[in-house]
Symmetry: C5
Subunit: 276 residues, 5 copies
């Protein structure tokens, strides 16, 4: 096939290997485009990436798929449904493919945004646990991977809109500008979700500190409430020969009442000052 279309060695080499970063390269009068596809399996919360390599020549479009990826039959049928646009040549097919792949990221980002929103509600509404921190961490990884797949597309689309004129006809420019616009929006969405996540993380950290403060205050209050009667009991447990209080028949009930009063006073004092 390489010979039939006159493709360059290095492009073929790239097309055989997966794990390329998204890019656009020009070999003679052919374009070589690498894109990353993404799919979110919502039930399992699993994010999978694939790769599509596209060769666009003056009269042909060849696409190579790596990893998990949706079938492109819908793209094909869409192209065949609008023969007037298809007449514009391979440039339009490239647009249809890119548009299809880029639009797949919107539902992925929507799911991620929902997850961040859910996380945020959990953080602000409930005590912080180890699991929350682990979830934040996993969300961050997913966002990093999506960013890595999308951000090089800005440059790719920009070049398609502005240069490489012979493959992309003038009329189809607005279509690529539309893809460019989507890519910009995707990038912005990723950045916003990341900022939200960063804020959630910060809120998480300071809520942990606040919680720790509250735990310590509670702890301290109860220690005080228990320690005071223990001390008093210790004092009246001393074995001195001469301790007049011990002889009085009212001593015991009075001391018990006194303990209760002090404990209650402490309890309500702490309650009022917000320690309990």
């Amino acid at each position: 096939m390489q010979q039939a279309f006159g493709l360059h060695d290095l492009a073929i080499e790239d097309a055989h290997r997966a794990h390329q970063r998204p890019k656009l390269e020009r070999y003679g009068n052919a374009l070589f485009v690498v894109l990353r596809t993404a799919q979110m399996h919502e039930e399992q919360g699993d994010l999978q990436f694939g790769e599509t390599h596209i060769f666009v020549g003056p009269r042909y479009v060849v696409s190579v798929r790596h990893g998990s990826s949706l079938s492109y039959t819908t793209v094909r049928s869409r192209c065949e449904a609008t023969p007037s646009l298809l007449c514009q040549g391979p440039g339009f097919v490239l647009y249809a493919l890119m548009d299809f792949i880029v639009d797949q990221y919107f539902p992925v980002l929507d799911v991620l945004e929902d997850q961040v929103q859910a996380l945020e509600e959990d953080i602000l509404g409930a005590p912080v646990t180890r699991a929350t921190t682990v979830r934040i961490y996993h969300l961050k990884r997913h966002l990093l991977e999506v960013k890595r797949a999308i951000s090089p597309l800005i440059d790719v689309c920009n070049r398609l809109v502005r240069f490489d004129l012979d493959v992309i006809p003038e009329d189809s420019r607005p279509y690529f500008r539309d893809v460019y616009d989507h890519v910009i929006r995707l990038n912005e969405m990723v950045d916003i979700i990341r900022e939200l996540l960063a804020s959630a993380l910060e809120a998480n950290l300071s809520l942990i500190s606040v919680a720790q403060n509250e735990v310590m205050k509670k702890l301290g209050s109860w220690v005080a409430i228990i320690a005071v009667p223990t001390m008093v009991a210790g004092i009246y447990g001393m074995n001195f020969d001469v301790m007049p209080e011990l002889r009085s028949p009212l001593g015991y009930p009075l001391v018990l009442t006194g303990m209760l009063v002090v404990c209650c006073a402490l309890y309500f004092g702490f309650k009022r000052s917000g320690w309990l």
Copy 2:
């Protein structure tokens, strides 16, 4: 309507969908402008965004509103009140609309700035609570949304001031430069409020730590003040046959006095060294 004005398919598609990012696009000799409007319902502290899409052609201006937004009748009446400027064509109407929308952000930012100021006073003046952290978080979200609505306008205004000459006549340039100036100021205000918020957050975090330190010192001091007499009482509660102190009639009052003296000494010692 699309046919009457000869608008491009993609622009129409965009105008039907909401949730576009603010942008300026040129289709042939027409401009397509997307703007986000904002309204603050001060009583509920609620921030609502809408969208306005504007088509500006050589002899027409069409605006499409999405979501909550103020009516543009005031803009219309303002335009009709100054027919001399209106003669400058659709460019001036575009200016009037943009000026109206951009100026709506100033009161929004004033409210947000007041909220940050109030927050700041709360943080510096009172003990830190869970509620403060949640408020910081919500303010951050609002600022992020405002930033997202305003920052693309810099680019839009810049292009209106410099390029796209046929729709915007030379004379109305200073007006767009004025809008540009407002947008720059809005962006700067957002940045400053965000920096203030970030400083408030930092202050919040270190005040939490300082508070925790103080709680721990207080706790430690009281533990010491209570533990010492408990220990002494324990010692005189031992059942040894030969404990001369227990026999002495002065033993009990002396030990009680000793305990009191030690407790007071500890109390004032801690007081002086700032632990209590």
Copy 3:
């Protein structure tokens, strides 16, 4: 006055309103410059800002002052003292005004730098208190305001040095380059003071943590020192019929000595390992 000098509507509108950001605008052959002035009332540690708007035309200079600001009589007398330079026209007056205003920031920044230095010594030398955190916060705000007043001047001066040739004669360029140089230095000073403050804040935070660690170690040590004799006393306070130690006349002094020895051992052990 607007008519006498042929000033543009929008510039006049701006001149009436205060709270503009520093900027340089060109209306026809006139320049409109907005500058922010600053004054530090050292006794009260109070920082006040004002605004000066300057119109520079081919044959006139008009200045409008808002808020607190020094009088410009010294500038006027300086200009009149060097008539040879004054002959260079309004450009030189603009330089004299800008130089005067920009130079007012140096003492302000010196005071702020001194405050940061004092703060830093306080942080590194003494225990951290709530007041230190509040001071850091207020210094940050002042620096943010100064930055906001100075940083747009870089752009303003740059444009005065490079463009707008008809108002600023070629010969006075080196003078504006000098102002530009001062502005760059001011910006750098602000950045450095901010970095110092950020470092101070970081040092503050980690010293708080270190202090907390030390408090906890101290607390733990004293708890141990007090808890051990309490436990021993508890054991000999049990009411078993057969406890041989209680019968021995040496029991009490031996136990007391034992307690003392253990306490001292703990005390010096903690001392040696740095916990006390």
Copy 4:
């Protein structure tokens, strides 16, 4: 040798000294390229850097090796195996050397990525220890060193692809673009690994705080569970003459049961509220 090839003094000086940063310089019609080589000794987890200096003239290639580095015999044999490409002159030899050196970084980064992944699993799965923090620190250093070796290569490759035409023939440009592509990917990998590491560090920090919170809650719960019976026992250890409970034969078993019930109640209460 310097005279034979007409090399510049400063280039020779550089070639004698090691510890240059990667760079490309042009002296007359010769190029001087400095590259850093890296080797990972996986068993010891040891990362070693070397340096290679390459002089490329119209008809010669001279390479100087400093520090630990693989032999270039494989490069030589590869070049000799493809005489058709070798005909393209010294430019191709330069490409072969650069490709060989750049490709050595991929396994290094794979090892580092595996280490970060292992670290991450350790952090999220097990209690945080001092050793984890030290490992994070060492990984960071390695990444910093790799970044320092790779990032200047972007600029070097970029210049080889675009300028310096006389030494690098037009046909071999795509090969250098391929090296450039690898360098970009390496840089991206380093950035991603660094971001992962930063996230791991953040997760580490908040997990430490969460763990501290849990320790404190556990501690507090056990203190409460033990303190309550101690207090009760203290009360019944008082020596009042009139304490009716002490006379009842059921007093002791009732009090013991009561203690047990309270302790169990506390235990399960703390268990349910997540403190234990």
Copy 5:
């Protein structure tokens, strides 16, 4: 002297005042260069800065020294030793001076790097103290000052390599490129040392937290080990009439053994779970 060489007023004014930032300015056909010199007094760990101002005209070089600085006699003798290069005019003298001053930073940075390395070993190897935090802070200040002295030199050298052709002859360009290269390397070194320091600070902070966690676990463990026998002793110290255990002659030794067994169990339990 000003008249003899025809120097500009503003340059002379600058030369009189110290505390300029490094810069390059052109007045007519003369260049005015400001450089900052640095010296490290290794014994006292003291870093001192000076300033050198250089005027370079078509046929003269004038240098002015402020603050502490090495003598330039070595530069003079080096220049006189290579008369062939000296013939290239004042440009070469400028190069020699700049090279001399820039090269003085390498030993300074080596000392700073050694200090960071020592600090890092201290942090990773020993418990964190207040002194470490203070040292980090002082190193940061020194690095900030060095950065401030070096970073403007990139721009200065860049301009010397590319523009201002009449004073710097074409042949001496490679020499200035060499200085430029050194400046770039110095900047990179500063950045790397700063990153190392930042990592050390981060490690410091998380090690403080880890240490705090360990202290708290240790504290909690010992509290538990001591509190349990205290509670048991309290129970057997109660004064109930009917407590069968107290009557048994084996009661006391059994209880003592029980206490010991529980304490040991707790001790080894805590030891195994890493709390002690």
